[in-house]
Amino acid sequence: MSPSEAPSRRAFALGLAALFASACDRPPRPSGEVAFWFSYGGNNRKVLLELIERFHQEQSRVHVVATFQGDYFEGLIKLRTALFVGAAPTITHVVGEVVPYLAQAGVLQQLDGIGAESLADLEPALAQAGTFEGGENEPLVALPFNRSTPIAFYNRTLFDELGLRPPTTWDGLRDVARRGGSTGTAARWGFECPVDWWFWTALVGQAGGRIIENGKVTLGGTAGVRALELWQTMVHDDRTMRSPPGRDFNAWEATNGDFLAGRAAMIWTSTAFVRYLEEHASFSVGAAALPGDVRRAVPTGGTFFVMPKGLPESEQAAGLTFLRWMMQPKQASEWARRTGYMPVSKAGRRELEDSGFFREHPNFAVAVDQLSVAERWPWAPSLFRIQREAVQPRLEAAVAARLDARTVLAAACAQSEER
C-alpha cells in the first residue's frame, strides 16, 4: 500500500462506516409494522414470541417487531425515555400503578378503537375499569394482557410430610412458617416473600387499610403499620422468614430460587410463576390463596398494553389489530394456560373451565378464584411515585434493620405529598 493510497482507503472505510451509522438513525416504520416492546423473560418470552409467530401466519397485513426491554422497571424507564424523545414503540406494556400517571401526563392514546366486541369480552376485574377505582370514568388508555395477583406457593411434599395446611389467617401464617422451617445443616425458611410494595399492599388490604383514603395518602394508617410489623416479627422474633434478599426482581428471583431448591417451605410470589415453578421443582408444588386478617384482600398486578399518543392513524390501526387478536379468547386462554397469568377474556376463561383445564391444574384455578377478593387501585397519578419513591425503597430497610414501622411510614407519607 503506497502512502498516498493509505489515507484514501482509510477515508473510504470511514465513509462506509458513516453510511452504516446513518442507516442506524431512525428508520421510519414501514406501513403495517407494529413495534412492540416487551418485558417477559424465559418461558413467558418464548410463549409470547410463538403467539406473535402465529399472528403472522394467520394474516399478513400487520407485522409485529418485538423487542425485549428488560424487566418491568427497566422497560418502564425505556418507555418514558422514548416518550420524551418521540421514539416510543407502537405498543408496550406497563405496570398498572403507572397508568394513571402516564394518562394524566397526556401521553397515552385512547384505545376505544379496539371495538365494542373485544371490550365486552374483557374480564371486568382485570380491565382498566375494574382495576382502578373510577377507572370506568377515565378515557380508556390501558388494555389488560398479562394480569396476575400475589399467591402463595407451598412445597406440598413437605407440607404432607409435616401435616401442614396452607394458612388462612395471619396467625396461621406465623404458625405454619414456624413449623415448616428447619435449622441445622439443611436449613430451610418456613416462609419467604420479596419485601416488595405489592405484597405489602396485599397485607395492608388484609389488615383493612387502603393506600389512599378519601383522596389522602395514608398508606393504610395503622393497617400499613401492622402489615410492616408482621414481616418484622416474622424476620426478627419468629426467625421464620428470610430477611430481604435484594431489590426488585433480585428479590423475586431469590425467592423463587430458594423455593425450588427446597430452602423455603412456602413463598409468596406472582401467579405468573406457576408454570415456571411447577416445571422446575423436584417436589409437588401447591398453590393457595393469601390468608386474610380482618378481611381477605389481594391487589392485582402485572401489566397493561398502552399506546403512545400521536402515532399515525395507520400505525394505530395496525397496533389495534394486533391487540384485538391477542385478546381473542383463543390467545387469551393459551397465554394463561402456558404461563400462569389470568385469562383476560371471559370467553377464554370459560374455554379453560369447559376443557377441564382448571380441574387438571388446580394451581391455576386458585388465582382466578382469588379474583373475588381483589381490590382496586386508586386512580391516582401519584400512585407510581408512592410506590417507587416513597414506599418501596423504605420497606427493605425497615424490615432488614427493624426500623420503627410508624416512623418509616410517616416519612413515606410525607414524601408522597411532595410533587
Binding site: A17, A21, E74, V85
Partner: protein
C-alpha cells in the same frame, strides 16, 4: 524476596531456589488463579444445562459440553447486528478522535494566533468533565432534536477527545519547525502537511489513541444505556446485561454464554495486541 528490578544475574537464579522465592512464586501462581479462574468458571458454566445449575454439583466441570446456552443466546439476540453496531460505533469514535486531534493539536503546538492560550485552556478544562457529568443535560439536549436513539448520539459526543488533543499537541511539539517550513516551501498546503506529513510522524500516538478509545468504547455500557432504547442501535454490552433481567430466575448458563460472546473478542484482541495496548495505557498514564 527479590522486590526490585534487576537483570537476571547468576546470583538471581541461585536465589530462585531459596524458600522465600518459592513462596513468592507460589503466591504469584495463586494470583494468576485468582484472575484466570473466574474466566474458566464463566466458560464452564456456559456449557452446562439449567438442571445441572439447579442441582449445583460440587464438581465444577460440566457433565456434558452442551451448546444449548449459546444456541439460545444467538436465537434470542441478533448478536451479529449488535456486534456490528458496537464495532462501527467504537471505530468511528476512534477514527474521528484521531482525525480531529491532528489539526487541533497542530494549531495548538505550532501556530501563532490570537486566542491560542484560551483555546488550549478550554481543551484542558474539558478534561475535568466526564460523561458522567454530561449525560443528563446531553440527554435533555438531544431528546427534542430526535437524536436520542441514533448512532449520532453514540458517536458525536465522543468525536473529540480533550486528552487525545493534548497528547497529539505534546507529540507535535517535538517535531522541528524546519520540517514544516520546508514542506511549505515545497508548496504543500496545510491539510497536506497535517495529514500526509505530520500524521505519519506521530503515528504511534494516533495508534495508541485509536486503540485505547476503541477498546474503551467497545466495552462502554454507560453511554449507550443512557442514550438508546431501540434495538437498531443497541450495543453488545447493553444487550448482554439485559440477559440477566428476566424476572423469573436467572439462567446463569445463558448469561455466561452471552458473557463469553462479549468477552472473547476483547481477550483475543488483548492477546494479539498486548504490547500496543500496554503502550497505549502507560502513555495515557505517564505522558
Amino acid at each position: 524476596m527479590a522486590l526490585v528490578a534487576k537483570p537476571p544475574t547468576r546470583e538471581d537464579y541461585a536465589m530462585r531456589r531459596s524458600t522465600s522465592d518459592r513462596l513468592v512464586t507460589l503466591g504469584l501462581a495463586l494470583v494468576a488463579l485468582l484472575w484466570v479462574g473466574p474466566y474458566l468458571w464463566m466458560v464452564a458454566t456456559s456449557f452446562k444445562s439449567l438442571d445441572e445449575l439447579v442441582r449445583a454439583p460440587a464438581w465444577p466441570i460440566p457433565s456434558h459440553f452442551r451448546l444449548d446456552a449459546y444456541r439460545e443466546v444467538f436465537a434470542t439476540l441478533p448478536v451479529w447486528r449488535y456486534t456490528l453496531n458496537t464495532l462501527v460505533m467504537a471505530a468511528l469514535i476512534g477514527a474521528l478522535q484521531a482525525a480531529l486531534a491532528l489539526p487541533a493539536g497542530y494549531a495548538l503546538a505550532k501556530l501563532t494566533f490570537r486566542g491560542r492560550r484560551p483555546a488550549f485552556l478550554m481543551v484542558m478544562a474539558c478534561l475535568m468533565i466526564p460523561p458522567q457529568v454530561t449525560f443528563v443535560p446531553v440527554f435533555m439536549m438531544l431528546g427534542p432534536l430526535g437524536l436520542v436513539n441514533t448512532m449520532t448520539a453514540l458517536v458525536v459526543p465522543f468525536a473529540v477527545s480533550a486528552f487525545g488533543t493534548f497528547l497529539v499537541r505534546q507529540a507535535l511539539l517535538a517535531v522541528p519547525n524546519e520540517l514544516i517550513e520546508a514542506a511549505r516551501l515545497d508548496g504543500a498546503g496545510e491539510l497536506t502537511i497535517i495529514y500526509r506529513i505530520l500524521g505519519p510522524l506521530v503515528r504511534p500516538t494516533l495508534a495508541a489513541m485509536f486503540l485505547f478509545s476503541f477498546v474503551y468504547h467497545y466495552s462502554d455500557y454507560f453511554w449507550p444505556l443512557m442514550m438508546t432504547t431501540d434495538d437498531h442501535v443497541r450495543t453488545l454490552p447493553v444487550a448482554i446485561a439485559l440477559l440477566r433481567e428476566q424476572g423469573t430466575g436467572v439462567r446463569w448458563h445463558i448469561v455466561m454464554a452471552g458473557n463469553v460472546v462479549l468477552t472473547l473478542p476483547v481477550l483475543v484482541l488483548f492477546v494479539l495486541a498486548q504490547r500496543r495496548i500496554l503502550r497505549a495505557v502507560t502513555a495515557r498514564g505517564l505522558s
